[in-house]
Every structure is written in C-alpha cells, then in structure tokens.
C-alpha cells in the first residue's frame, strides 16, 4: 500500500512546486532531468537488462521522439493544455515504429552484431536529421518549453508502471527467457519473435517519450544532442543502477544526474570521470548496484513470495 500513497504525495508535491516557490528553477530543471533519465534508463533496461542484448542506439529513439514532438509543437499544434501529452504520445509512437523495424532485424542477429546494427541505426538517425531542412538540419530547432514537473512526474509513473506490468507477465518472462537461453525458450514454445517486437517497441516508445519531454524542456535540440555520447550516458545509468531492475533504473538515473550536475565545474574533465567510473563498475560490479534484484514495492502482490526477480 505504501507505493500508491507515495505516488500521490509525489504528484501533489510536484503540483505544489508549480504554484508555490518551494524550490528554485534550477532545482526544478534538475528534477525534471532526473525524471527524463529515469524514463530513458528504464526503457533501455528492457532491451539491455531484461532481454540481455546490447543496444547502443537508445539516443536514436530519444532523437526520434524529440524531433517528432518538436515538429508537433512548433509547426502543427496550436497551444493548448493538450499540446504536451499529444506531442509526447506522437514522439513515442514514431520511435516505437522504428523500434519495430529494429526488432525485425534482431530476429536473425544477436549479440555483438545486433549492437553494431543499433550503432548504425543511431548514426543514421543523426545524419538523416542533419540533412533534413524541415528539422532544422545541423542548426537544430527551438521547441516551446512545455514540460513541467507534474508532467514529468506523471510520465515517469506511467513508464515505470507499464514496464513493470510487462515484466511481470508472460511477455516479461518470455523476454528474460530469451536472455537466459533463446534455444531453450524456443523449445518451450515461447513466442520469441513476438517478445522481441514487444521489447524493442516498448523500449523505443518510452525512449521517444523521454526525447519528447526533453525537447519541450530544453528549448533547443540539435542532432549533436543525440549522439553516441548521449547513448553512453544512458548505458552508464543502466549498468550503474542495475540491469534488469526498475529500482536499479531509478537509482542509476538519480545518481548519474546528480553526479553530472555536481561535477559541472570540471568542464570537459567531467566526461573523463564518468566513463572512468563506468570502467571501474564493469571491473568490480558488472551487473550494477541492483543488478537483477528488485524492490518488493515494485512487485505485483502475487509475486511477493520470491526473493529473486527476473
């Protein structure tokens, strides 16, 4: 019962922050970034953690969502209270459509080669956007600022809830079975293709959602915002917080975002420290802090007898 209460309280807090000067703008921005990162981390965890693949292209889905949303809010939609949710849904859907294509490619390819395909996907998205004038090309776009704390919180809750439901269902079991042993999974009648499509599409959808939220808070997006560095940051979050764990996704996103802000004074040295942390992590704790473990709060009640989670 604790979790729903926390959610309501959290949402109330976010709404309050919108109208009362409880926290300053800078902190608000950081909190929104934490939310966006949680969505990115949890969505990538579906493919990299639960399904055990190695996708380096998640920034590509973020880019798709960001640009789709930007086009919606700059050029197509009139200003209204529905503007942000529509744009976010559109962003997620566009990303999911491409995620579906990537899923098809994953039928015949796994492991390193799939990683390479996701890399190619990322680079293609980036170079494609750079060449499309309608999307501002290399100069970027300036979408209106629409994301606020309550909306960010809302989307974080929706993302975690849906992913949690998916994981603790037969589809989630299929996804982890693929990670554990794809041949055995096939022999047990697991619908492997369906599971891969679901995993990639859902992961891409929420990656797009995060991208859309980002576009509408950052007031500037360009192709460089969504390159391999961004993908690496998301990877750091996943492998820091813990693979195949929702609590881990939250943990990784929070620690990373705060660390990133705290190390701001280091300038470019910041991107030396962060990957160094990643390397040390890989050597000493490759699955992350909460790798393959889960907080009981996130489990559906019927699963509460088990200590170890997928």
């Amino acid at each position: 019962m604790a979790l729903p209460i926390l959610v309501v309280l959290g949402f109330a807090f976010c709404v309050a922050c919108e109208f009362l000067p409880i926290i300053n703008t800078y902190t608000k921005g950081v909190l929104i970034m934490v939310g966006i990162n949680i969505i990115l981390c949890a969505s990538l965890n579906l493919v990299n953690g639960y399904m055990g693949e190695f996708s380096v292209g998640h920034a590509g889905f973020m880019a798709l969502g960001a640009y789709a949303s930007a086009v919606m809010t700059i050029k197509w939609l009139p200003a209204s209270v529905f503007e942000l949710p529509l744009a976010v849904l559109f962003g997620g859907t566009v990303a999911a459509a491409i995620g579906f294509l990537l899923a098809l490619l994953s039928f015949k390819t796994r492991g390193d080669y799939l990683a390479i395909i996701t890399l190619a996907f990322l680079m293609i998205v980036k170079s494609a956007v750079e060449n499309i004038e309608y999307l501002g090309g290399p100069r970027g776009m300036t979408p209106p600022v629409l994301t606020n704390l309550p909306w960010a919180f809302f989307w974080v809750v929706v993302t975690l809830w849906i992913i949690r439901n998916l994981v603790y269902s037969k589809f989630g079991r299929a996804i982890t079975a693929i990670r554990e042993d794809e041949i055995a999974a096939n022999a047990m009648g697991v619908r492997v293709r369906e599971a891969k499509i679901l995993a990639f599409s859902t992961s891409a959808f929420f990656g797009g959602v995060a991208g859309a939220l980002y576009a509408q808070v950052n007031f500037f997006i360009d192709p460089k915002s969504f390159d391999i560095v961004r993908s690496t940051e998301i990877l750091v979050m996943v492998y820091l917080g813990g693979v195949a764990s929702l609590a881990g996704s939250i943990l990784g996103a929070v620690i990373f975002t705060l660390l990133f802000q705290a190390l701001q004074d280091l300038g470019t040295w910041r991107m030396v420290v962060m990957p160094l942390i990643l390397v040390l992590l890989m050597i000493f704790r490759p699955r992350g802090i909460m790798g393959m473990k889960e907080l009981p709060w996130f489990l559906p009640k019927r699963e509460l007898f088990t200590k170890r989670q997928p």
Binding site: M123, N131, M282
Partner: protein, 294 residues
C-alpha cells in the same frame, strides 16, 4: 568524366588504406578475443597527436621513418597496456562488460585529449610533397607515400600472421581460447602482442591521416575511427582480409558519395551501406556465423 572518377579513385585508395589499417586493429582483436575494442578509434587519434608532439616538441628534428616507428611503438604499447589493465580482469565476465569497458576507456582517452587540447591542431609538413601529373591525373608524392606505407604494413602483417609462429598462435587462439594454453601457447603474451600490433597499426594510420588531412582534433577518433569500425564489420569482423576489403570498399563509397552528391550525405550513406550489408549478410561480407552447439 572518366578523369574525374579516376582522380577520385586515387583519393579513395588513400582514404581506404587508412581505413584498412585501422580496421585491421579491430579485426585482429575481435578475432582473438571476440571483443569489440571500442577504444581503438581513440588510439588512432592518439597516433596523430603523438606524431604531432614528436614532430614539434623535440629539440631535434627526427627523420620521418623514426617518427613513424616511434608512433607505432608508443601507441602499440598503450594498446597492450589498456588490455592488461582494463580488459584482462574481465576475461571471464559477460562480453557486455568488456565492450562497455572498452567504450569507457575510449571516452576517457578522447575527453582527456579534448581537455588538454580543446582546439584543433595543425600537423606540420614532415615531408616535402611534390605533385606529379601523368595522363591528366594529379597525384602527390605524399599520397604515394601514404598508400605505400599502408600497403607495406599490411603486407608485413600478412607475413606475421601466416608465416610466423606468433601468427599461428594468434589464429589458434581465435578458434578456442580455452584449450590453447593446454598446448603450451602463452596465451596472455600472444594477446598482448595482438593488441600491440593492432594498436601500432592504428597509430600509424593516425599519423598518416594527420599528414593527409593536417587538421587534427580529439574528435577524429569518432569521426574516422568509427568509420573504420564499420569497414571492419562490413568486411566481416574477425577476418583480416575482410578488414582490408571493408576499408577500401568504404573509402570508395565515401569518396564517390562526396564526389557525386552533397557532402553532408557522406555519413548517412556510409552507415546506410553498413545496415544494408548487415541485413543481407549478418556477419559481414567475409565473416562467418559463430557456431553454436545445441
């Protein structure tokens, strides 16, 4: 028109040979350890900077060949060092960990260089290049030098792999890294050697790149090095011949793409080519599917 194509082909060969040198480093390491050494592209970048430092920071002007050998040695040792410190502890760990570590190492190298040298630097002329013309085509002696050195290094590598005991050991390890030590082959030493040679080639490529395109920055690792990675994958990562094939193929495609279309499409075409090839030949042109016992 024919002249234009022929002229561009010369450029393609130059670019392709640089790609091939870098791609060889990727393929050698993958062949032996089944690991994508994402740090390799940044070692290439360091090769260019090492050459710059050696050419400008020393009180005495070293001859060209000495600089080349020094660059190869320095970067080669650096590559072997990274293997020893960052990859070897992860030899038994899931492969994902090794790849991420490589990514991390690459980023550390790249951003350290960026922090120390935020603005692009210019490679001094180490070689008095003259322009030759024959039957309407122009080629500089620098281009000839670059292509020549690349080919020389590739031939030397081929000799190393096919005709020496080290090469045989390398190939043996690429088949089964666990039983090979039982036959008395010093696996760790061979792996170190593989990284040494691979990184050395990458460093040489960096130097040659700096001579061909004198403006160098910390970002050329991602710019050029990752392209070479694509080349290695197109050819079939793990395959030495594939790396060379992929390198020249990519060089040709890129140069022709820039020559005949808008140059901003260059990356798009390169990566789309990769995707296209992988869709039809998932393991690259000369690559082989890994065998899985059921």
């Amino acid at each position: 028109m024919l002249y234009y194509i022929a002229q561009q082909t010369i450029n393609a060969i130059q670019l392709g040979s640089i790609y091939a040198l870098i791609a060889l480093g990727y393929s050698m390491v993958y062949g032996v350890l089944v690991m994508i050494n994402f740090a390799h592209s940044d070692l290439f970048m360091l090769g260019a900077f090492a050459c710059l430092l050696l050419a400008t920071m020393l009180p005495v002007q070293l001859p060209f060949v000495v600089i080349l050998l020094l660059v190869m040695a320095i970067i080669g040792l650096l590559g072997a060092l990274i293997e020893r410190v960052a990859y070897r502890p992860l030899r038994g760990a899931p492969r994902v960990s090794a790849i991420i570590t490589a990514l991390g190492c690459g980023l550390v190298i790249q951003n350290t260089t960026l922090s120390l040298s935020p603005y692009p630097k210019y490679m001094p002329e180490l070689f008095n290049s003259r322009t030759l013309t024959f039957s309407g085509l122009t080629i500089t002696t620098l281009q000839i030098l670059i292509i020549g050195i690349s080919f020389g290094l590739m031939v030397a590598l081929d000799f190393l792999i096919r005709k020496t005991r080290y090469g045989m050991a390398m190939r043996a390890i690429s088949f089964d890294v666990r039983t090979v030590p039982l036959m008395g082959i010093p696996v760790n030493r061979i792996i170190s050697l593989t990284f040494l040679v691979g990184a050395g080639l990458g460093g040489a490529a960096g130097m040659l790149y700096g001579l061909a395109y004198p403006q160098i920055s910390s970002g050329i690792g991602i710019l050029i090095g990752w392209k070479a990675f694509i080349a290695a994958v197109i050819g079939g990562i793990g395959s030495i011949r594939g790396a060379v094939l992929g390198g020249f193929l990519l060089g040709l495609v890129e140069v022709m793409a820039v020559a005949f279309t808008d140059s901003s499409y260059r990356d798009l075409i390169a990566y789309s080519l990769l995707l296209l090839i992988l869709v039809f030949k998932p393991y690259g042109l000369l690559g082989q599917a890994p065998n899985q016992k059921v």
